[in-house]
Amino acid sequence: MPSGGSNSLAAVWAILHKECRSEWRTRYGLNAALLFAVTSLTGVSFAVGRLTDRSDVLSGLLWIVLLFASLASLSHAFVREVEGHTMMLLRLVASPTAIALGKMLFNLVFLAVLELVTVPLFLLLMGAPPPRWDAFLALLAAGSLALGASATLVGALIAQTRGRGALFAGVSLPLLLPVLAAAVSGTRAQWAGGAVTSELRLLVAYAVATLAASLLLYDHLWED
């Protein structure tokens, strides 16, 4: 029986599974991103030393390192398909929405792994454990969600342009600026011992809004 319903959860999971296996085999993006994160972290740490009592600088540095380490690799999810000419195969087996959702889930997993290494190292090198772990982790999770949702949509667009990777950081920055502003201000408040609810709410709202808009836009992503 032919199956017309390719817009299913099965397709999303199959794509997520495929992405993870492919990444595991080639270590195409993760190695580069981890190397970038660790290099920039140690570079920053070497240059400024320990910043135990400078919560304003700490939060900014943390998010800048995370942002650029992830930007270096999040676009690969689609660029790799275009460069390997496998986009056609993908489009033949799954709907645009399923493709984009599968890639977004993979990007979120990717971000989680990246943060698992980068964040503890950052806290260690800077000598500044967060006073409230729950607030810190919630901000990290909400920020990553918003980051992943925006980066996936822009990544799908960028993969179809002439410059591909080169444009990604510039084009995604306007969409990531709200995330950066809210995440940095929330993290700073957390280190200073203040409330983070408004920033957290802002991040989650932005992630949800981006995701909702993306679900309407995904259908137009590939038409040639």
Binding site: S6, A10, A11, K18, G84, M88, L89, E223
Partner: protein, 229 residues
């Protein structure tokens, strides 16, 4: 265009389904370049239809539009299965497509690529299906090989296996005989004849060995490379 020659016995096949493909004033431009001169046609299952025309007249473009991979800049196609219209965006689930631009994941094996396709399409009994379609194109012994190790003829066979995996109602083959050896051509021939008996097959080709299998031809006009204006 010649009329569809009725093949006795084909319509009586138990698995025969009603498949109709209609194109009305269908045309495409790639920017300033004409990809496909406007045309209209109507074909129905069972049968094999050849799409012919010199280089640059839009054979591949036509097949991609029918497969739902390309949005035409003019007119449109209507595809109906058992009376139900399948919108272009949903075509990939129903249509089997094999073309020269179709590439596979080189970091995965032959069977792995098809397993992924089966999983993404949500097909039941995926392992048996994958093994069966690989056998059908003569790649059964290569199931575990990495795709990177395949010759271009074997990749062409894999494309056919990929197109057949979900038992499509409409099979679209773009230059299916390229890179194939004699044995591969025999496999292709049997697939086209078999599929043509139950469903609809569209072959884009200029090779007589392939369009000779068709009961009907759609000859694409247009400037092509021959007489550019």
């Amino acid at each position: 265009m010649s009329a569809l020659r009725e093949e006795t016995g084909a319509a009586a096949s138990p698995s025969a389904r009603s498949v109709r493909l209609e194109a009305r004033d269908l045309g495409h431009r790639y920017g300033r370049r004409v990809g496909l001169e406007p045309l209209s046609f109507e074909v129905a299952a069972p049968g094999v239809v050849a799409v012919t025309g010199s280089n640059g007249t839009g054979k591949s473009t036509l097949l991609k539009i029918v497969a739902g991979l390309l949005r035409p800049s003019r007119g449109g196609t209507t595809l109906t299965f058992d009376g139900r219209v399948v919108a272009p965006a949903r075509r990939p689930g129903w249509v089997g497509y094999a073309g020269p631009e179709l590439a596979f994941y080189s970091e995965f094996g032959v069977a792995e690529n098809l397993s992924f396709a089966a999983a993404a399409r949500g097909l039941p009994a995926a392992p048996a299906r994958v093994a069966q379609s690989l056998e059908r194109v003569g790649l059964g012994s290569r199931a575990g090989d990495p795709v990177a190790a395949l010759s271009s003829g074997m990749v062409q066979r894999l494309r056919l296996a990929f197109a057949l995996l979900h038992e499509p109602m409409l099979l679209l083959l773009d230059e299916p005989g390229s890179h194939l050896d004699d044995e591969g051509r025999a496999v292709l021939r049997s697939i086209v004849v078999e599929q043509g008996r139950a469903t609809l097959v569209l072959i884009a080709t200029n090779d007589e060995r392939e369009w000779g299998l068709a009961e009907r031809r759609i000859e694409l006009a247009g400037s092509g490379l021959g007489h550019t204006s």
